[in-house]
């Protein structure tokens, strides 16, 4: 067993087929709930469970469900965010590839709870093979009467479709995702109104992450108290963490929320490769501030991470070793946001470009005396001032790196060379700062 809940049976052969999924008890919850348990009660159970969104923001799921107006004359939609493009994150891919029916069951149940008859799964373009897996699974459920006109003989109708993106990080942001799904360029929209009130086609729309929705069948099956046996009071349940970087065993791990980061890295991932040492860890995808090695005992839950000055985010744990130049690593991160900024608002479009430009010259030994202040100023002028949270995601890593590793940045300015300046044979490249000064 790779994990207590979502990963308990993930490697079972045949799980991706309807038959295999049913063999492990799949769709029993759907049959017991749809048309039998009042929808309000379902929302209440999810609220009691304390489940929080696994897509990045950690918003309480039951509360979000309760925001969807009950007697709106308009259609209601449910949209699964399967864009998974936060750097460092690769859990939804494995979950959907191996257990597509758990997502479908979760979506039908969520649809039933909020009174929605139509769902869309928005996949990033690179996941074309997963679209084929999901389409096949959806066809199976339609043929078996588990989705479509009459779900499990209850009279409830639920139609489910997949939609393939085409390469744009911004489409993971929920309002940009909805723009994209409607056939526009994937640019974000102003909030409020939030999607729960006015989302897809200006209709009430529930947007949830893949992992969030996959928790739902388990919660409705076993109840809120059962779910709370894992995790902490404010972050109940488990979380799938995607670990990357030079650890011995990178990969996806399902752990109870609250587990110390060091336990994940040292015990589950087997520690660092080749005698390397941890320099810093980005705990929640590249959008969150990093933690220096001194804070590795921080618990992997929403509140502990906030107390340490960062976020659990998407659970993309990127481990950075001591041989890595922080200026170089941060430059890589800011180039990502510069490339992915959708261009709609000035602070993000211009700010991400300038942060990359300043980091480029620091990295190339061309830094100026006031560059660190300039960098901090740029980050400050994006944070909270951009149209959507992509800007914040670009600014926070810069602030985190400057806070914990300022000396390394200063060294690049004053010595025009790199403090690390170490060639890691077989692992890395000759970076610009090494080339210039080796």
């Amino acid at each position: 067993m790779r994990g207590p809940l979502l990963f308990s049976d993930i490697d079972t052969p045949g799980l991706a087929s309807l038959e295999g999924y049913r063999r492990g008890g799949g769709y029993a919850t759907l049959a017991a709930v749809v048309g039998k348990k009042p929808a309000d009660e379902c929302i209440e159970i999810v609220k009691q469970s304390g489940l929080r969104g696994r897509g990045g923001a950690g918003f309480p799921t039951g509360l979000k469900w309760s925001f969807v107006p009950k007697n709106s004359p308009r259609a209601r939609y449910i949209v699964c965010n399967a864009d998974e493009s936060e750097p460092g994150t690769f859990k939804d891919r494995e979950l959907m590839e191996k257990n597509p029916h758990l997502l479908i069951e979760g979506m039908v149940l969520a649809g039933y709870a909020i009174g929605s008859n139509t769902g869309y799964i928005y996949l990033r373009g690179e996941f074309e093979y997963i679209q084929r897996i999901l389409d096949r699974a959806i066809d199976e459920t339609r043929a078996a009467g588990l989705s479509g006109a009459n779900v499990a003989g209850s009279g409830f109708r639920f139609d489910l479709h997949t939609h393939l993106g085409a390469g744009a990080y911004i489409c993971g942001e929920e309002t940009a995702l909805l723009s994209s799904l409607e056939g526009f360029r994937g640019q974000p929209r102003l909030k409020p109104p939030f999607p729960a009130v006015e989302g897809l086609y200006a209709c009430p729309t529930l947007v949830n992450n893949v992992e969030t929705l996959m928790n739902v069948p388990h919660i409705l099956n076993h109840g809120a108290a059962w779910f709370r046996q894992w995790g902490t009071e404010k972050s109940p349940g488990t979380k799938i963490l995607s670990v990357s970087g030079p650890v011995k065993r990178p990969g996806n791990y399902e752990v109870p929320l609250g587990m110390p980061l060091s336990q994940l890295i040292d015990d589950l991932c087997g520690g660092m490769r080749d005698g390397m040492k941890v320099k810093a860890v980005i705990p929640g995808g590249s959008s969150v501030p990093l933690l220096p090695a001194s804070l590795l005992d921080t618990g992997l839950d929403f509140e502990s991470m906030n107390a340490a000055g960062t976020f659990l985010g998407s659970g993309g744990v990127i481990v950075i070793d001591e041989g890595t130049c922080m200026v170089d690593a941060l430059w890589n991160i800011t180039r990502f946001y510069e490339h992915e900024s959708c261009g709609k608002c000035t602070p993000c479009r211009e700010g991400t470009y300038w942060m990359s430009e300043v980091l480029r010259r620091l990295e190339h030994g061309e830094g100026r005396a006031d560059d660190l202040d300039l960098l901090a100023d740029l980050a400050d002028n994006i944070l909270g001032k951009s149209f959507c949270a992509l800007g914040d995601a670009a600014a926070m890593p810069v602030q985190g790196a400057l806070l914990h590793f300022r000396d390394e940045f200063e060294h690049h300015v004053t010595h025009r060379s790199c403090l690390v300046n170490r060639r890691r044979d077989g692992l890395s490249v000759v970076r610009p700062c090494e080339q210039a000064h080796a």
């Binding site: 750097p87 690769f90 393939l164 990080y169 994937g186 690593a329 077989g426």
Partner: protein, 173 residues
């Protein structure tokens, strides 16, 4: 800007010929229109269906997509240019998309990319003269645990190094 330039280049080539698409693609397009309450929403699936058949989106394909979803051509062009995976110029049979984002970079993506550039004699965004390979730097592919990695068209290849990527290239005709 480069997208505009490539469109101009494509327009001036032989691509003003009528578009020929298979019945299967037409059927796929018809099916995609049934999934949404309006035609506009089908623009991405329509573009995908066309690109999967043709390999890229020549102006005639964009024009055809515009007529299907009942939008101005300029609007469809604006949508196609927004998304990096829509090819507005021809690509090779095997589109090597190498992830350069942090986790892959930490594990040697830069070196892998440089190796491919040297081996194939092409750079980012270029295609070998025989039309066999195109090379591109891309952002995180959601395979960071298998870094460094790349996608050949839609196929993932993970935990790569120079030797492995050489063997991979040999299998791609």
């Amino acid at each position: 800007m480069s997208a505009t330039r490539s469109l101009v280049a494509a327009l001036s080539s032989d691509l003003l010929q009528p578009l020929r698409i298979s019945d299967a693609t037409r059927a796929e397009i018809e099916k995609s229109l049934t999934r949404y309450p309006n035609r506009r929403s089908a623009v991405m699936p329509v573009l995908w269906a066309l690109q999967l058949e043709i390999g890229w989106l020549p102006p005639a394909a964009l024009r055809y997509a515009a007529s299907v979803v009942e939008l101005p051509e300029s609007e469809v062009f604006g949508i196609a240019t927004f998304y990096t995976m829509f090819n507005l110029r021809p690509v090779g049979r095997h589109h090597l998309q190498v992830c350069m984002t942090l986790s892959c970079s930490l594990m040697g993506a830069d070196r892998l990319f440089r190796h491919l550039e040297k081996k194939l004699g092409i750079g980012h965004g270029e295609t070998t003269p025989d039309g066999r390979f195109s090379l591109r730097r891309v952002e995180c592919l959601a395979a960071c645990g298998g870094a460094p990695c790349l996608q050949v068209n839609f196929d993932y290849h993970e935990n790569l190094d120079e030797a492995k990527v050489d063997r991979l290239l040999e299998t791609l005709e």
